[in-house]
Structure formats: structure tokens, C-alpha cells
């Protein structure tokens, strides 16, 4: 039953559906009540409203104390005031309290200018902090992906909610009591020793500088300035769909050409595209899928199905730690980032006559787990990583700004050949469902030998939590599922573990929305419409490409002809596949 509630906010009447909060109703009226702990990613059904920061308090006639508008439901006849002296004083005092236990090092904070605490302080016109006293202090925890500076934590609990409820990882949780309450791994473990998958969703939602990426921009500047080194770059598909936001472009503006131009201006010897490697991934993973399927159809009961994608390093960390009993389920194909690095430091380096030790491969990723992935031992040759390091979309934007490159005035440029060429199938890797769709386009044609007329598999698109589709592959009903967010992944994995999974192939991305919602992307500040817009940008770019199937990429074809032989060949196995490790914590049962 859709019952409507009528109330007054700041003397303006409004009618809202039952269950609406005062905050939501006020925002509908254009009344901007400040918030801090509150976050509502509506499109993803992810909400944090613990009503704990008490910044959003309002006065409700007849109520003894102030009400947190984020968690107080509207009631008929309510008379709400958002800006009385009582409210303003309380809000200011609460903020001053928060600031009194926060380091005042905004000038050198990674989040300065992008900090929600700073924004609210500006909005409330705070000019001094009247409270003196003890400040909480914690050590800085550096992991390969994330910098955790708990001293800056304002205890909004967003990261805890993402890590526990959405991702079901459980690395971060509230510890201590009273004044020392803070969110961190249990027993003050470092993130690296915890269950953390480095998905970076905690970073994506942290309103302050407590959780940020491990910054590699200085390292990159030094490498670019080194005359002995050839520094090349690869950029992931999701980066181009979001980078523009850092330069005040509307969300969903694809800035591929400007991004390429900017990277060239920064001094990269070659600007390549991870999309090339995404096409390569499809060749390998698609072939592996077909191989397992064909064996299954021939009656081989030992074949591992469903096959699960393995492009996402956060997801790889998750299953290595949480599902070590199922390590043989995911595809052995490396992620596009690593395939790129492997090919660049062998095939391309040989071709160009560049010595491995002089070649630096950098990636620009929407992701923080990619930083960790670069450091994995299995992706090193004699200690030299295939991809030296990865910077996030945000770090790239910072670098562009730092080097006086006027991003808006840049003319579009094209990627370099050959590792810059890609198909539409690779572009959509950046959105949830994209890898599955790309794989289906290629697997269908290779398996059936027929041309796929409609390449759009709408059933696997969109940001619903779990998507499933049945595809008629020449009479065989191929059942696929797509999950984004590790909590959703866990559901599918539990099905597999209990032998109840009905799927043949599953795509999993650790971040809600897929890579476009990655932990290294421009901050959404709780606005999930950004993620939708980025997704649209990728699908638009795909639809505008002349080639939309990975196996049609001419440079991929020549790579196999010249170097790899065929998909899943021995060489391909050596360079493009990997294996997984049991990194689960041993539980000793007593």
C-alpha cells in the first residue's frame, strides 16, 4: 500500500511515501542538510545510515531531543526545522568535537579538496576548534594497495559496512570503546595480514583521509624522467569513462582521446590499451571455457564447471582466502593487466629491441587491488614484475593537474599500435557483465562457426546484484551468471561448494558496478548515478566500434600468428596463464 505522509520542513509542506526519512524529504525540497556517516548508493541498494555522526540533526516539534534526519522516518503532521539556532549550535558543536579529535593537517592530506569532513567544515563556517584535549593516535598501515591512517578515522563506519555487509570480507570492524573507538582490522593487524582483498571499496567510501590508495605518482615521475628507461603505459577500460569527472566533466563523458593525449604529454614512450589484453583474455578464457564445456558435453564428469572469470584481482584474493577448496574452478587466464605486461615484456620488447630491465610497464587502473597484483611473485621474471606498478584513475588525474596539462584543451589522440588496438568487447570489460558478454560473443562464434548477428547480450548488463541468463548456443542451453560485489560472489561460491550451482560460466567482479565502481576511481561521494553514467559511456563506446568481437582484433590475430601459436598453446600457458594459492587462514578446531 502506497501511503503518503504529509509534513512540513522549514515551513514548506511536502508529501512523501511512507518510510521516507526526513533527510530524503528535505533533499527533495532542495534543503541540503549536511551529512557525514550517511551514504546511500541507491542504485546498488547499499546504504549506511547508522545515525552516529549526528551532523544531520534537525528539530522536530514536540520531540524532546534533536532527531538525526538520516534515520528518522517522516510522520504525518511533523513540523521539522533544519536551521534553528538550536540545530545550528548543536551541529556546529558536534562538528567541532569531531575536528578536535582529527589531525589538522589538511594542507598535506591526500584527501584535501575531496574530503567530506572538510566540506562540512566549510559549509558550517568553522573558523576555530574550541576544544582542546587528547587526540587519538594510531600507526599508519601501508599495504601494497591501501594506505590506512586510522588517526584520521571519524568513525562513520562506511568502510566497515562495505567490508562486512557488501563484500562479506570482514577485514575491517569497529574496535575499542568510547573515545578510542575506531575501525580497523582485529588485533590491529595490518591489512596485508588480514582478510583484506584490496578491493578498495573502503577507500571508495571513506569520507576523509583515513583510507587512501598507496600513491605511486612520485615513483612514476622519477621513472619518466630517467633517460635510460622506456616507460610505457596501459589503461584499463573503466578509466576513460570516469577520468573526466576529475576535470569537472559530466559523469559518463568518455575521454579516451584526451586521456591518450595527456599520457603522451606526460612522457610515456608508448600509450597502449589494456583493452588489447582484454581481447587476448577473451581468446584464452573463451577457449578454456569451450574446452571445459566440450569435455563436459562429451561426458567427462571430472571437468570443473562452472568456469569463473579471473580478471579481477580483488576477486582472486577473495577466493584464495575464502574458498581455497575451490581453486580449480576459476579460469587459469591471467588478468588483462598481467597479460599485457607479459606480452609487452616479451613479444613487444623483443620486437622493439628493448632490454627487459630498461622497460617499465605502468598501468592506469580503476582499481587498487591491481597494485597488489603487480607485486605477486608469479608475475615476475627474475624478480622483475611484468607490470612494474599501477596507478589509479585518481592518481592519473592528480598527475595531469600537477604537470600543468590543460586536460580540457587537449586534442583527442589515438593509442599506439600494436598493443593499443581493441574491440568493443574489450571496452565493456569495465562494467559488470562485460567480460561475460565479450566471452559469449567470441565463444559463440568459435563454437558454432556461425556469425553472431546481435552481439548485445542485454541479460547480463545492468547493475542488479546477481544476473543470470540462458544463451542458446546452437541448441545447447548455456547458463551463465554475473555477480559484482564480493557478497554476491560469496552466494554463488557457496552454491558451488554445496554442489547446487546450475551455471556453466560465471563472471565475478569484486566492486559493485564492476571496474567502473573500482576503488581507484574518482570518488562517487555516495552518488550512485555516477556509476550508471560510466557504464553507459562504456556501452556507447562499444556500440560505436567497428569491431566488437575480440577474435576479430587484427593485432590479436597477428600476435597468435607471430608469437603465441594458438590460444592455450604451451607458450600461451607460460605467458598468459597462472595458478592460484591457498591463502586461507588455518582454523584449528579444538
Amino acid at each position: 500500500m502506497n501511503e503518503n505522509i504529509t509534513l512540513k520542513i522549514d515551513n514548506r509542506e511536502i508529501s512523501v511515501p511512507k518510510g521516507t526519512t526526513i533527510l530524503e524529504a528535505a533533499r527533495e525540497l532542495g534543503i541540503d542538510i549536511p551529512t557525514l556517516c550517511y551514504m546511500n548508493l541507491k542504485d546498488l541498494c547499499i546504504k549506511n545510515a547508522p545515525a552516529s555522526c549526528r551532523i544531520c540533526v534537525v528539530e522536530v516539534d514536540g520531540r524532546k531531543n534533536l532527531a538525526p534526519s538520516c534515520a528518522t522516518r517522516c510522520e504525518n503532521g511533523m513540523n521539522v526545522h533544519t536551521n534553528t539556532i538550536r540545530v545550528l549550535n548543536a551541529r556546529r558543536t558536534v562538528l567541532e568535537l569531531m575536528l578536535s579529535d582529527h589531525p589538522s593537517d589538511c594542507l598535506v592530506c591526500a584527501k584535501s579538496g575531496n574530503c567530506e569532513l572538510q566540506s562540512v567544515a566549510i559549509k558550517l563556517g568553522i573558523r576555530e576548534i574550541p576544544f582542546e584535549g587528547e587526540k587519538t593516535e594510531f600507526r599508519v598501515d601501508l599495504s601494497p594497495s591501501i594506505r590506512r591512517d586510522t588517526t584520521k578515522c571519524i568513525y562513520c563506519r562506511r568502510c566497515e559496512m562495505m567490508c562486512n555487509e557488501v563484500q562479506t570480507v570482514g577485514a575491517l570492524g569497529a574496535v575499542n570503546r568510547g573515545f578510542s573507538s575506531v575501525v580497523m582490522p582485529a588485533f590491529d593487524q595490518s591489512l596485508q595480514d588480514s582478510e583484506c582483498t584490496f578491493c578498495g571499496q573502503c577507500v571508495a567510501v571513506c569520507p576523509v583521509g583515513a583510507l587512501t590508495e598507496l600513491d605511486h605518482t612520485n615513483r612514476l615521475i622519477k621513472d619518466l624522467a630517467d633517460p635510460d628507461k622506456t616507460v610505457i603505459v596501459q589503461t584499463a577500460p573503466a578509466v576513460r569513462a570516469a577520468l573526466g569527472e576529475e576535470f569537472a566533466l559530466p559523469a559518463g563523458t568518455s575521454v579516451t582521446g584526451k586521456m591518450v593525449a595527456a599520457l603522451r604529454k606526460l612522457g610515456f614512450a608508448k600509450v597502449f590499451d589494456t583493452d588489447f589484453a582484454a581481447d587476448l583474455t577473451i581468446m584464452e578464457e573463451g577457449t578454456e571455457l569451450l574446452g571445459r564445456l566440450e569435455a563436459f558435453l562429451k561426458g567427462d564428469k571430472s571437468v570443473k564447471l562452472p568456469i569463473i572469470t579471473s580478471c579481477c584481482p580483488g576477486w582472486v584474493n577473495f577466493f584464495e582466502k575464502q574458498f581455497p577448496d575451490l581453486l580449480d574452478m576459476p579460469s587459469s587466464a591471467r588478468s588483462p593487466q598481467q597479460m599485457f605486461g607479459s606480452i609487452a615484456k616479451t613479444y613487444w620488447a623483443e620486437k622493439m629491441g628493448i632490454k627487459r630491465e630498461n622497460l617499465i610497464v605502468v598501468s592506469v587502473m580503476p582499481c587498487l587491488a591491481k597494485k597488489f597484483e603487480c607485486e605477486r611473485d608469479e608475475f615476475k621474471t627474475n624478480g622483475d614484475p611484468d607490470v612494474n606498478y599501477s596507478i589509479s584513475t585518481r592518481e592519473l588525474a592528480a598527475l595531469i593537474k600537477q604537470t600543468n596539462i590543460n586536460f580540457m584543451q587537449l586534442e583527442d589522440e589515438d593509442f599506439d599500435a600494436p598493443l593499443g588496438e581493441s574491440t568493443g568487447a574489450a571496452v565493456i570489460f569495465g562494467a559488470t557483465g562485460g567480460v561475460m558478454e565479450a566471452a559469449l560473443r567470441t565463444a559463440y562464434e568459435i563454437h558454432t562457426g556461425k556469425t553472431l548477428d546481435n552481439v548485445n547480450f542485454e541479460g547480463v548488463r545492468g547493475i542488479e546484484n546477481l544476473k543470470e541468463a540462458t544463451i542458446d548456443v546452437d541448441g545447447f542451453e548455456l547458463k551463465v551468471a554475473v555477480a559484482h560485489g564480493l557478497g554476491n560472489a560469496r552466494k554463488l561460491m557457496n552454491e558451488i561448494r554445496s554442489g547446487k550451482s546450475k551455471y556453466h560460466a560465471i563472471e565475478i567482479m569484486a566492486c559493485p558496478g564492476g571496474c567502473i565502481g573500482g576503488g581507484g576511481q574518482p570518488l562517487h561521494h555516495g552518488d550512485s548515478s555516477l556509476l550508471k553514467a560510466r557504464t553507459r559511456a562504456l556501452y556507447t563506446e562499444d556500440s560505436e566500434k567497428s569491431l566488437r568481437k575480440s577474435h576479430q582484433n587484427p593485432y590479436i590475430i597477428s600476435l597468435y600468428e607471430e608469437f603465441l601459436g594458438k590460444p592455450m598453446s604451451e607458450k600461451a600457458h607460460h605467458l598468459l596463464h597462472t595458478c592460484y594459492f591457498n591463502r586461507g587462514k588455518e582454523i584449528i578446531e579444538q
Partner: protein
């Protein structure tokens, strides 16, 4: 077998700590020696309340009340009282005013004004013997409910009684039951909140130790009324004796068919389990309590939804405090109209208070609502210790406030205490005399709140810390008038914005002491003096040259050589060096050292 005589020995935590269990052993041994074990029965009861004079031993049927009994006294009690019928005079309570021994507890000032409903069986029955409870009409209330009353009739009876929650909030119990009864679910829960945490309060512990069946019976009645079949007692793990007695009682009730399936042959089934708390004060708040029981971090969440709608495991849950529940069976048996005639207009029945502080009769008392603070402190409590002057009484624990002389004739009830700037809370009552510094008292309570805050909301997490720091600054003599304004504004904001009852009331000790003892704050801030002489930083040690004979004892004992003077000449204290340890004052035989 019928005994001619019963010797009741307090088996509560306080008296046990003073070896009351050894008294029992000794009594039994002596009785056996005299072959009286079949004539006289020794019973370990719950708390008598008169903890100041424990261990308590009471001989029935003549109601002789022995105080501060030691195990070695057992022999004399048996030889003199039991065998010869002569009371052991030296163990009787001496009335401090009339200076004469009072043998019958009924005539003792401590008991005269008390009316015991919640504590009706404490100090009377053996809490580990269900038959003794049954002999005192135990479980007849449950029987009456199940066999003669509909659930809504029970709820109406409780509503009509006017019983309000004894845990602190004072919410009408019947109304709470009614809410929980209206929500439909596959499973509902009755939760007994036994997470007693106010400093000094121990009535819930005493009830569970002394009369556990009253709680169990009430929970079953509540379950019948709201349609719940599961009961949970959330009890602090620091209450091992209460836990053990509850477990024994639950086990016995199950054996007697008073818990379990089809109670009294009806369709009603009810089971009770214990859940242990780790002693976090905030877990007394019902939503935090529920989260703790679920295995989550013990911290409160927003209401609504109230537990009646979505509580334990998201099912409708009714949470009642121990003392509240202990009243239920009595109300059912004697009727709402009996109960609602006791007390004041809006606060019915009695309230148990834990008397503590600078009062002669420390202990647990139960008085009708409407009794004045003066009656409690002077008649029941026997006045202020050592003849000192009454200064304040703190009620309501860390959520309450300090009341003064002018409040002494206020009839105690929920609303009057609130109107006076304090609150009922769970019934802690700490009496202070002229030696207590009210700024330090406020600081003490804030220290408690800072320690016990769950940290979830900003005002409680950081605000209370800043309140405490500001109070500390004042007691250090570094306070300014601006700090006083900060205290007031911050207190109001914390009350206005904190998430749960803990934070919403934590500034009360600050506000009430500023209201009632403003001059004392001013003395600390402006004159840099602590009138009560408690704030060490503000003390100045001084040697009176008239009294000092120059013996040099003080100088020899001063750990920092702050005292100088020629032999046989008056000495002086170098205040810059003095660390205010008080050694000189303690050593001086001529009372020449004083503080000012």
C-alpha cells in the same frame, strides 16, 4: 519433618564475602554436635539488605536479628540461643540513638519504613529450593494467568497496576507488553535485562541471588501475555552467584513442569536460557543488549524500530528489568488495585534503592514510591556518617544528578526526581557529606561515562571526553569562566544529540552540580580553591607558627625537602617545592600543619 527453629544466614554476595558460608558450616557442625540437626534448620537465604552490618543471621520464629556475625560466633548462637533460649546480646543490633539493643528487625529503623514487594522473599527463603518459593505463593501467579486469564487480561492487569520500568526509563510495563503482543511473528522473545551497571547499584543481583524464581515466573507470565515461548536472561558474567542460582532455579522449574512444554497442561510452553554480558554498561540499553546477545558489538541502534517490533534476531522482543519482573507475580496475585494504591499519582508500587556513600546504614532498601529523601537518608539510612553535614545525594547513577538539602522533602518518584534535575535510574543512591567536592563528583561520573561509552555517536564519544577534560582542568585550578560556559553548552548539545539514553543523560551530573553547587565551581575557577579540600592541586599546606614547636619531624618526613626551619623554631613549607603528599600533616603531633 518439621523443624522447631530456623536459622537464616544471608547467602548474598556481600555477606558471603564476609564468610557467611563458613557461618553456615559452623552452625551446622555445632547443631550436629548437640544432636539438634533435626530440630533446627540452617538456611542460606538471599540478601537482607542491611549490608552495612553483614553478615546477617536471623533466628526464626522469634525474629532475632544478629549482625556482623563471625563463624566463631556460631557456637555461642547454638549454645545460648538455640539451647538455652537466651539471645546473644553482643550480636544484636544497637540502635545508635537510643544506644540499646534491638532484637526484632521489625523495630529497627532500617526496616520500619520499608515495604518489600520486589524483595519480598529476599532474606526469607532458600533461593536454591523451589519448594520454599512455592510455599510463599510462588508460581501461583503463573498458574492464575495460564488457567484463569486471557493474555490480554494479564496485560490489562499490569497496565492497571501502573507498574513502570525499574531499570531507569520508567516506561509503563503493561504498555510495553501490549506493543509486543500486537506484532505477529513465528517467534517472539522475552528478555530479562540483568545487565545491572550503575555504580553502587546491586538490587537486581540481590533479587536474582535471593529470589530467582520470581524473575523466572514473571518472564513466563510475560511470555504467556505477549505470545512468546522463549525467554533470555542477559546477565553480567561478573555475577557468578546470581548465574548459578538462576541456573539452579531454571533447572528446578523445568523439573516441576513450571517451565517447558505445556505448562499446567495448557498449550503454553516457555523456556529460558541465559546469555552472558561482558560487563559493558551500555549493554543495559535495550537495543545494545539485543545486539550483544546476537553476538554483535554491544552498541545501540536507532529506535524505531523498537524491540517490540524488531528485536532479538529481528523478532518482536520484550525487554524488562529484573526488579520490574520481580513485581509481576505479586501484582497478579494481589491484584492491580492493591498495587496501584501504593505510591504516588504517577509512580505506583515501591522502589528498591542501593544506599551508599557517607551514610550510616549502607544497604539495599525497598520503600513505597513517595517516600521522601529525608526519610530514606535519616530514618532508614540512619543519617550521615560520623555526624558530618549532609551535602548532596546522587540518584540515578551516571545518568542522574545531585540533589541537595532543598530536595530532601521531595517525595521520591519518577517524575519528581526528573523535575528536580535528577532521575530514578535503576535506584543507586549515593549520599555525600561536606567533605565531598561536587566538581570531583561530576568528574567521577564523567570518567565512568567516558569509559563506558560505546563510542558510536560523536557527542558521546568525543563530547563526554571533552567534558571530562574540562572538569579535570577545573579541579586542577586551571579552569576559566569560559570553561564553565563550555561545560553548559556542551552538556546541552550532548543531551540533545546523543544516540542513546547513555549519552542523552551523561551530562546530568555536570548540569545538576553546576545548578546546585555553582559557588563551588566558582571557588575552583576564581579563587583556585576546593571548599571540600578534595582537589589536591588546589590544596596549600601550611604550618601554623603558633603551633609548631620546631621538632623537625615534618621536615625529616618530607620526600622533596620542601620544609625548612631551624630547630625549635617554627618551620615553613616551600609551596613551590611541595608535592602535596600530606606526609607532614600526618606526622605532625601538634596539629600545626593544615591545608587551606
Amino acid at each position: 519433618m518439621s523443624y522447631k527453629m530456623h536459622i537464616l544466614v544471608c547467602g548474598g554476595t556481600g555477606c558471603r564475602a564476609s564468610a557467611s558460608h563458613q557461618i553456615i558450616t559452623r552452625l551446622e557442625e555445632c547443631l550436629k554436635e548437640k544432636n539438634l540437626e533435626d530440630e533446627v534448620q540452617v538456611i542460606a537465604t538471599g540478601c537482607f539488605g542491611f549490608c552495612e552490618k553483614g553478615p546477617i543471621v536471623k533466628v526464626m520464629p522469634d525474629n532475632t536479628f544478629y549482625v556482623q556475625v563471625k563463624p566463631d560466633d556460631a557456637e555461642e548462637i547454638v549454645n545460648e540461643h538455640v539451647i538455652k533460649g537466651r539471645k546473644v546480646e553482643r550480636l544484636l543490633y544497637k540502635d545508635p540513638e537510643k544506644k540499646e539493643a534491638v532484637s526484632d528487625s521489625k523495630h529497627m529503623g532500617f526496616y520500619k519504613k520499608q515495604l518489600r514487594i520486589a524483595l519480598r522473599n529476599c532474606g526469607f527463603i532458600d533461593p536454591e529450593n523451589i519448594e520454599e518459593y512455592i510455599a510463599r505463593e510462588g508460581y501461583s501467579a503463573l498458574a492464575k494467568c495460564i488457567t484463569k486469564m486471557k493474555p490480554e487480561e494479564v496485560i490489562n492487569e499490569i497496565k492497571l497496576s501502573g507498574l513502570r520500568g525499574r531499570g531507569g526509563g520508567g516506561f509503563p510495563t503493561g504498555l510495553k507488553w501490549e506493543f509486543a503482543s500486537k506484532y505477529q511473528a513465528d517467534q517472539k522473545y522475552v528478555v530479562c535485562n540483568a545487565d545491572e551497571g550503575d555504580p553502587g547499584a546491586f538490587m537486581d543481583r540481590s533479587i536474582m541471588e535471593g529470589d530467582p524464581h520470581s524473575v523466572i515466573e514473571a518472564m513466563a507470565i510475560c511470555g504467556y501475555s505477549i505470545g512468546a515461548t522463549k525467554g533470555l536472561v542477559y546477565i553480567r558474567a561478573e555475577y557468578p552467584l546470581a548465574i548459578q542460582r538462576l541456573k539452579t532455579a531454571i533447572h528446578q522449574a523445568e523439573e516441576f513442569g513450571l517451565l517447558g512444554e505445556n505448562i499446567f497442561g495448557s498449550n503454553f510452553s516457555f523456556n529460558i536460557e541465559l546469555r552472558y554480558g561482558a560487563g559493558a554498561f551500555v549493554c543495559g540499553e535495550e537495543t545494545a543488549l539485543i545486539h550483544s546477545m546476537e553476538g554483535h558489538r554491544g552498541e545501540p541502534t536507532m529506535k524505531p524500530p523498537f524491540p517490540a517490533e524488531s528485536g532479538y534476531l529481528n523478532r518482536p522482543t520484550n525487554v524488562n528489568n529484573v526488579e520490574t519482573l520481580a513485581n509481576i507475580p505479586a501484582i497478579i496475585i494481589k491484584g492491580a488495585n492493591w498495587f496501584n494504591k501504593i505510591g504516588t499519582e504517577r509512580s505506583k508500587g515501591t522502589k528498591v534503592f542501593a544506599l551508599a556513600g557517607k551514610i550510616n546504614n549502607v544497604g539495599l532498601i525497598e520503600v513505597p514510591m513517595g517516600t521522601t529523601l529525608r526519610e530514606v537518608i535519616y530514618e532508614i539510612g540512619g543519617g550521615i556518617k560520623n555526624g558530618k553535614k549532609f551535602k548532596a545525594v546522587q540518584t540515578g547513577g551516571p545518568s542522574g544528578g545531585c540533589l541537595t538539602e532543598k530536595h530532601l522533602d521531595v517525595p521520591i518518584d519518577f517524575d519528581n526526581l526528573l523535575a528536580s534535575g535528577s532521575m530514578m535510574g535503576s535506584g543507586g543512591m549515593i549520599v555525600m557529606d561536606e567533605d565531598d567536592c561536587m566538581v570531583s563528583v561530576a568528574k567521577f561520573y564523567l570518567e565512568f561515562t567516558v569509559e563506558e561509552s560505546c563510542g558510536k555517536c560523536t557527542p558521546c564519544r568525543i563530547g563526554n571526553k571533552r567534558l571530562h577534560e574540562t572538569l579535570d582542568k577545573i579541579t586542577q585550578g586551571k579552569g576559566t569562566m569560559e570553561d564553565l560556559e563550555t561545560l553548559k553548552n556542551l552538556s546541552r548539545v550532548i543531551k540533545d544529540t546523543a544516540l542513546c539514553g547513555l549519552g542523552q543523560t551523561s551530562p546530568n551530573p555536570v548540569l545538576s552540580t553546576i545548578d546546585n553547587f555553582y559557588d563551588e565551581y566558582l571557588a575552583h575557577i576564581k579563587d583556585k580553591k576546593c571548599p571540600a579540600g578534595q582537589c589536591k592541586a588546589l590544596l596549600m599546606f601550611h604550618i601554623d607558627p603558633e603551633l609548631c614547636i620546631g621538632c623537625g619531624l615534618c621536615a625529616r618526613n618530607c620526600p622533596v625537602d620542601a620544609i625548612v626551619g631551624e630547630r625549635k623554631e617554627p618551620h615553613f613549607i616551600n609551596t613551590a617545592k611541595c608535592i602535596k603528599c600530606g606526609a607532614c600533616m600526618e606526622k605532625c603531633k601538634f596539629k600545626a600543619v593544615s591545608t587551606r
